[in-house]
Structures are given as C-alpha cells and as structure tokens.
Symmetry: C2
Subunit: 532 residues, 2 copies
C-alpha cells in the first residue's frame, strides 16, 4: 500500500466516521474542508499565435475542456476534430428535459417525462462570480444567465433527532449560533479574560461589534425580544394599523444548536465558491454545452467511443467505434492530441504514454454523487412554506432539497432537486433501482414538507454519477499526497498528447477547472508546436 | 418640551455623535438599530363583505396604500374615487426613465437623460421575501420580478482613514472578523474560562463549530493559508494544469478590522429585512405603481392637490385644486374617507378630526434620505472590478454605491446608485444644487473606482426626499415614546376618516407598511360601515 493510498484510505475512514456520527450532510461538509478552496486562476483566453498551416489537433471528448480547446485552437488556425462518446455536446454539462432518455451503467433506462419548460441539472448547477473562465465562454457564446440563490434564510435545516424532527428556518439557527457566540465572547471580554489578546482600545469596539453582529440586547445578552428578532425573525411579524405588534420567539440555547448538528450549515454561503453573486444559465446548465456544440458544428463527431490511443513521432491516432451505426472500428489521426476523457475511462483505454502519466491516471480516485429530480404539480414550497429558491438541508440520506431558481411565484409546476449527496451515501443510494431511489427520496422529503411531497409528485429522474457511462464518477478527487506525487505528471505534455479536464486542475469537479485546465494545456501544446 | 420631543432630540444627538465619530454609514447602521425590525404581519387580502349599494369612499393619495385600499374596496362593491397630487400613480413607488422631468421643492428641475432601458429608483428598490402584502399585489397585478442581490461578497468596504484609503472586498472583512472572533472564543474555551457557561459535552462541538465557521487551522488559529482562504479568498486563485497553485493573503488583524470601522458592514444581509431571497420588479420599482394605476383606470384623478378635508355626520368632502388646468378649487365627496397623505403634508391641510389625531399627525418626524443616480458609459464595475450587483459601502457622505441588479455582463451602459444616505448627511447633501450633489457624488465614487468613475459618467439625477413636494420626507420616523403615545390615535377611525400609509404601520418606510396599514384601515372602516 503506497503512502497516498494509505492516506486516501485514512481520509475515507475519517469521512466514514464523520458520516456515521453526523449524517451525510456533515460528511459533505467535511469533504469540502479537507479539499481545496475552489477558486480560479483564469486570466483571459489564451493568446495563441498561428501554427504552420495544416497543423492538426485531435481532441477527445466534447465536454467543456474539449470544446474550449477546440474553439481556441480553431481560432488560432489549427485543423481541429473532436471525437465525442455521447450523441450531444457538453459531457457533465447537461440538463434533462421532457422527452430525454438516460441509460445508466447496468442498463436501467429512465424516460424523462417533465412538462415543457421544466428541466433538471444532474451535473453542475451554478457558476460562482469568480469563475471567470467559464463566464468568459458564457458571454462569448451569448448564453443568458440569471442569479442563483445559494442561501435562502427562510429555507429549512432539518435533523431527524433534534427539535422533535421539526425543521428550523436557516435564519433561526444562524441567528442563535451567532448570538450565543457573541454573548460568550462578550462575557469573557468583559471579565478581562482576554486582556492579553485584546487591547484596551479595541475592547469597547469589539463589544459594540459583537452586540450588533450578534443582535445582543443592551446588557450584552442574546435573549428573546426585539434585538434577537433582528436576525432571527419573530413568531408573528409586525404589521400596519392597530394591533400590529410582533410576537417574539424564545431563541434556542447554544447547547440545542450544537447538539442538533444544525450549526454545520450556519456558514453556508460564506465560503468563496458559494459567495453571492452566483449565476446559472437560463433554461438549464446544459445551455452552455449546447452553445459550444452549435459554435463548433461538424468539428464534433458524436457517438464515437474511443478504444485505443496511439502516438508515434509523426502524430496521434485514435481508434473508435461508432456506437450508433456500429461496424468496424475507425481511425482518426492528427499531429497532436488533447485528451479530455475522464481518468476513470481513460485508465481502461490502451494509450502509449509514459509510465508516470499512466500511474497518475490510474491512481486518481473519483468522487461519486447522486442527484434526484422530482417534478411537482404545484410549487407548495413557495405557496405554503414561503421558500423561493435556495436549499434546505437534512441529515437524511438525501442531504438536501434544492428549490427551482426560476419562475418564482409561478402558478405552474416545478422541478425540485430532491437529493444531492456524495460518496458512501451516493453508493448506498444507487444500489437501488432508479424508481426505488425516487421513492426513498420522496420519503425523506415528506419529513420536511409533510403532506405535500408525495401528494404533489408527478415524475422524476435519479442520476448516480458512478453509473454514468461516459464518466463513471463525479470528478477527480485528489488526495493531498496524490496531488503532490502525480499531478504534474498527469498534466505534463507527453510526446504529442496532453490531458485536460477538471481532473487536470486544482478546481476539480468545477467547470472552471475544465476551462483553466484546457487553457493551460493548449498554451503549453502550442508552445511545443511552435518550437518543433 | 414634551417627553417625546426630548427623547427625539436626545436620539438625534446620539445619532449626530455617532455620525461625527464614525461617518454616515455608521449613523445609518445606528438608525436601524434604534428603530424596529421591519417585518410584515400580513395574512392575506381583507375579506370584506358587500356594503349597501352606493356606499362611497373617497381616497386621498394614489400611492401604494391608497391604491390597495381602492382596489379592495372597489372589489367589495364600494364606489371609489382617488385624488392624487402627482400626474402618475405610485407616490414614492417611483422609477425615473429618460425623458422624465422632476422638480423639487425650491424649483430646481432635473431633466432625466438616461438611455432607453436604463432607469433609477429614487424610492424603494427591493422587496424582502417575507413582505407578503406587497408580493400579493405584485402577483395579482402580474408584475414580473427578478432576484435582488443584497450582499455582494466581492463588492467593496471603504474607509477614507483605514488601509490607506484602499477599499477592501466584503469577503475579506467578513472572513477576518469571523476568524478572529472564532479564534478568541476558542482560546477562552480551551483555557476553561467558559466552564461555567459551556458544558463539557458542548465544549468539543463548540470548538469544532468555531473552527469551521471561523475557517481556523488545525491549531485553532486564524492565519494566512488554505483554511482562512476558504472564506477570505486568495491573492491569486487556483487554476488548471501546471503552475496553478494559489497565493494566499495575510489576514488583517482584529485591531485593524475594528479600528477601520469596516466591521459595521459585516452583518449586512443577515438582518431579517435584508435576508435572501429579495426581489425587485423587472424594469423598475415603479412598475408596481403603474400596474395599480392601469388596474384602477379613471378611479384615479391626477393633478389634484387637496387643500381642505371636512367631515360631518353625512360624509366627507375634500377640496382640491387642479394643478394642471388650474381654475377654482373643486370638491369631491363620499360617505367615508381613507386618507393616505403623508403626515408632513397632512399637518398643513385643514381637517376636522380629533385633537388626538391632530397631535399624532403633527408630532410624527419624518426621516430624510437622498439618492443619486448616475448613468455610466460602460459597466466598469463588472468589467474591471468584477462586481455584479450588490452594494459597496463607504464612510464618505454618499454612504454607498449600488450596482445595477439587471443585465449582468451587458456590454452596454448602466445606472449606478451613487449615493444613498440618511438624515443629517442627507440635509447637508441637499443644501447643494442637484448638479453640485452629482459632482460631489462623483468625487466620492472616484475614491472607490479610481480612474473610472468620472471618465465614464454621462448623466444623473439627485432626489432628496425632504425636498420632494408630495411627501417632504422619506417616511415616518417614529420614536419609541411617540409610538407609545400617539400611534393608536393616528390609526384610529376618526368619525368618517381613517388614515393609512407606511406612517400608520410598524413597518415605516417600507411598501409593506403601506399595504398592511391599508388592509387594516379598510377592514376597520368596513366594520364601521356595516355596523352603521
């Protein structure tokens, strides 16, 4: 067992332990913590000069990375061809609409029966404002965007074992956590316990800051009343005219907030990749892939399953089968190759690259996740629960409910994200048939929206990423050790082949990782071409 | 000097003191704190039965309160007429477009020269998700809404006296404040200083919660590195491929955050009325007033300046002059009257109501505020500063810059909110001519967006609410004492007259106050009618 394997195992064990103790949403939180922050180092599209006329590049995969590479190389004057396994562009950039069909590994086929205008994003669903790379192409390709609500203060935080299983509003838990933290720190500040850490000059300012931020009263206490209601809200709100006084609620104690586990969601929306503003393409994330596909036209050859990649000192040849028309394997050749096939698949395809790159490909673990989409007859979460967009979180296996972030106040239907959960829980979830997954998801949702969830359900779809044939996982899940030993080997130009994709970036599982990886890969490839 | 006057004066002195010490944005913050939380007690439109046929109600003012009253009374079967001072519906619900003209008290006239598609809201600009009353009418009248970004983590916090006058990003200040607070509390928790407040069982959970929420490292320290970057962001972000490591920044110290005063903005977006989701009508807040006006048609008589209100045991008569056509004063009569004229104006109009109501009207102070709109040639805040919507805050007199919350990524123009400031600062601001106000606003903005602000400026408008002829102030600014002594007297049905508007609510200066006030007023009026 190598060091990095040991590390990966112990990391997994840690996650499993956290998952056991605290449920899957805690585990996802822990995942995020052990990983890297997800920022982008994008500084504009690559400025490639022109290669010698006729210089050709074969690109494997028409996901975001492959299509960014194709677009930029084509614009620079390269002869470009893409082989794509699916019958559509986008890869994991993908939205499902009524009439679509999806067959997962194992053969289960789902017919999507959503109404016109409804859709579901099984993969990425949001674009942080600082993901400048993907935003560059969104704008270049005239994809329309709208704001995405990451934090809905009126959405629910739910624990099956706390508060009698009754969900709390996000704002209540946030206000109570901050209030108690502020009160505790104010107390120790006043008791001079912090005299070595906080100067006399700062003391009064700190107390005033804590009072405001923690909504404390004039005695620096976080208690029921007008002050705590400033963030927490009231049982009944203020109104107009006579008898319009509010009724205040008793905050929960710090002990209740802590033992409920709901505190884990308090920082939602504060981490860099979740900070407002965030955007989504109107009509589905898949609009980006479609726009790329339209722009690239017949540069992309669909239904092409690559079964062998071979390079020599003259060029690169990919052997592929046409999954639609069948027949004998065909060949596509070019001077150079950008390969964006996920490591999960690529590790199974013969390819003559260095041992180092092979090892890098083979060692890379992929995360898994499952998403379940549920079409509901009416928007009960808006009409009955007053939740417009954003997410509720639960310690049940579905982990969260995402509310549609468009057509607010519509009197029509809506598609909920009924489950979005990772790794161990995702594997457990996906051990069932798609229909059983949906039924379980409805059970979990019924705990949060009792009386409405099952009764309004019409149709759904469940996508478990480790069963998605074109990727067999959600994305590259680098360990710290793995990155140290193998990342540069994965990214290095190997003869005439360079890899690209989210897995070849420090922003794995984000489209921005695909863009910045592709930009970097073709910049290095172009330099090699020009110096050849 | 009455108690409440003394109270108001001392409150004003306090605010002035805070303003002097800490700049105007601190003062606005303090204002909010001394006031009430702004929630809504709305529980659906009033269910009025039918009155005796022919029963009539005269409504004074076609703002939100007057038009809600008219709509509901009309639907219940009343004969309804509205007299409105302006030549348009909406009152303070108002958007300015190119081609509009606005003349303030004192005679200064501004020609609005915005391009088509551009607009500016001099009054309200957002609708919290829990303002169910105004949202009810937005939906009933099919006004289209879109999300409003209250907090932009990438927008600026700026102090002229801290950090060399260089703005900080909101996320940096928030992360540093939370990080240091978490570290301090963790330290005292570990030192057993809190043993009386935090049980042994809660201790470990509290530490874990502080570590995550405060982005502390494994030693519970808030320091430069991967952990603090989770909320704070990095100097250069991570990217794809080779050489894609991030560069981390040194956090500011707690002392720096406190002495800068920037901590005052850390809780932005957490108070109930600013919690996501928030909405705005597409195309301008004035779309609501327009939709009401269209629905009510010729029920509204425009350009009608009320100069006398008289009731007897038969009915109510308002005397008014036609400000457009001129001529002799005219009279409008009805069985009952709902008067939504702001107290600032109403106190100057003869009206035979009880002394108690008179006193209530006369004692009510109105806040003032000023808003400045600036059309810019290009969206430099998006293209150069990467700020899409939300607000930057400054300790300069303009207090904040609001970025347009629509047409993100547009290559065209945009209208900034260049100043939004209250009370003392608003009076000082408005002592200048509109053009001088705009010039000052450009100077302030230049400090935050140097090189771009003046050079991209095309045209603007400055609306100081205490100079707006139809309201002479921003809204009812109740003191605690004033509300105790006079609020019920203001709202009570007086003979055949009842008052309504934001000033007759516990949500002053919010449209929701107008709706809930009108709903309550007509419900009580109707009960009186039915029992008469």
């Amino acid at each position: 067992m190598s060091d990095e394997q040991a590390d990966a195992v112990s990391r997994r064990s840690l996650l499993r332990m956290i998952g056991t103790v605290a449920g899957s949403s805690a585990m996802y939180g822990a995942m995020t913590e052990l990983g890297f922050a997800k920022e982008s180092g994008y500084d504009g599209p690559p400025k490639l000069g022109n290669p010698r006329p006729g210089t050709s590049v074969l690109i494997l995969g028409a996901g975001i990375a492959g299509m960014v590479a194709a677009l930029e190389l084509r614009d620079a004057g390269y002869k470009v061809q893409i082989l794509e396994y699916n019958n559509r562009p986008g890869g994991r950039n993908w939205s499902l609409y009524g009439g679509d069909t999806y067959t997962e590994l194992g053969g289960a086929t789902q017919q999507i029966k959503f109404d016109p205008g409804q859709y579901f994003n099984p993969g990425p669903w949001r674009v942080p404002h600082h993901h400048y790379g993907i935003l560059h192409y969104i704008n270049r390709l005239n994809v329309q965007v709208e704001p995405f609500t990451q934090v809905n203060y009126n959405a629910y935080l739910h624990s099956t074992t706390a508060f009698g299983g009754k969900p709390k509003r996000f704002r209540e838990v946030m206000a109570d956590f901050q209030g108690h933290v502020a009160e505790l720190l104010a107390k120790t500040t006043q008791q001079s316990a912090l005299d070595q850490s906080v100067s006399k000059e700062d003391r009064e300012m700190l107390l005033e800051a804590l009072r405001r931020w923690g909504t404390l009263d004039e005695n620096m206490r976080y208690v029921k009343g007008r002050n705590s209601a400033r963030n927490r809200g009231a049982i009944s709100d203020e109104g107009g005219g006579i008898h319009s006084e509010p009724e205040y609620a008793e905050p929960d104690t710090l002990s209740q907030v802590l033992s409920s586990g709901l505190w884990r969601s308090v920082g939602n929306g504060q981490n860099y990749e979740s900070q407002t503003p965030i955007f989504q393409p109107k009509g589905g994330m898949g609009m980006i892939g479609k726009a790329f596909g339209k722009e690239l036209g017949n540069i992309i050859q669909y239904n092409a399953k690559v079964i062998d990649i071979h390079q020599d000192d003259k060029g690169v040849t990919a052997t592929y089968v046409d999954t639609e028309k069948g027949g004998q394997p065909r060949k596509a050749s070019a001077d150079w190759c950008v390969c964006t096939i996920p490591a999960t698949i690529l590790s199974q395809i013969p390819m003559n690259v260095s041992g180092k790159m092979k090892t890098a490909i083979n060692q890379l673990p992929y995360s898994s996740s499952i998403k379940v989409g549920l079409q509901m007859k009416r928007r009960f979460w808006e009409q009955d629960d007053r939740i417009f967009g954003g997410m509720s979180y639960t310690d049940q296996p579905n982990a969260q409910i995402g509310y549609p972030q468009w057509d607010y106040f519509s009197k029509g239907k809506g598609v909920l994200l009924g489950a979005y959960t990772f790794n161990a829980e995702a594997y457990r979830y996906a051990s069932k048939s798609p229909e059983e997954r949906i039924q379980a998801t409805l059970d979990y949702g019924e705990k949060i929206h009792p009386g409405n969830y099952r009764s309004n359900y019409e149709c759904g779809v469940a996508v478990a990423w480790h069963r998605v044939p074109f990727t067999l996982g959600c994305g590259g899940s680098w360990t710290e050790e793995g990155r140290k030993n193998h990342y540069d080997n994965l990214c290095a130009l190997d003869g005439r082949i360079v890899l690209a994709g989210e897995h070849a970036s420090r922003l794995p599982e984000w489209q921005e990782g695909s863009v910045t990886s592709a930009t970097d890969a073709i910049t290095r490839l172009h330099a090699r071409v020009m110096s050849a």
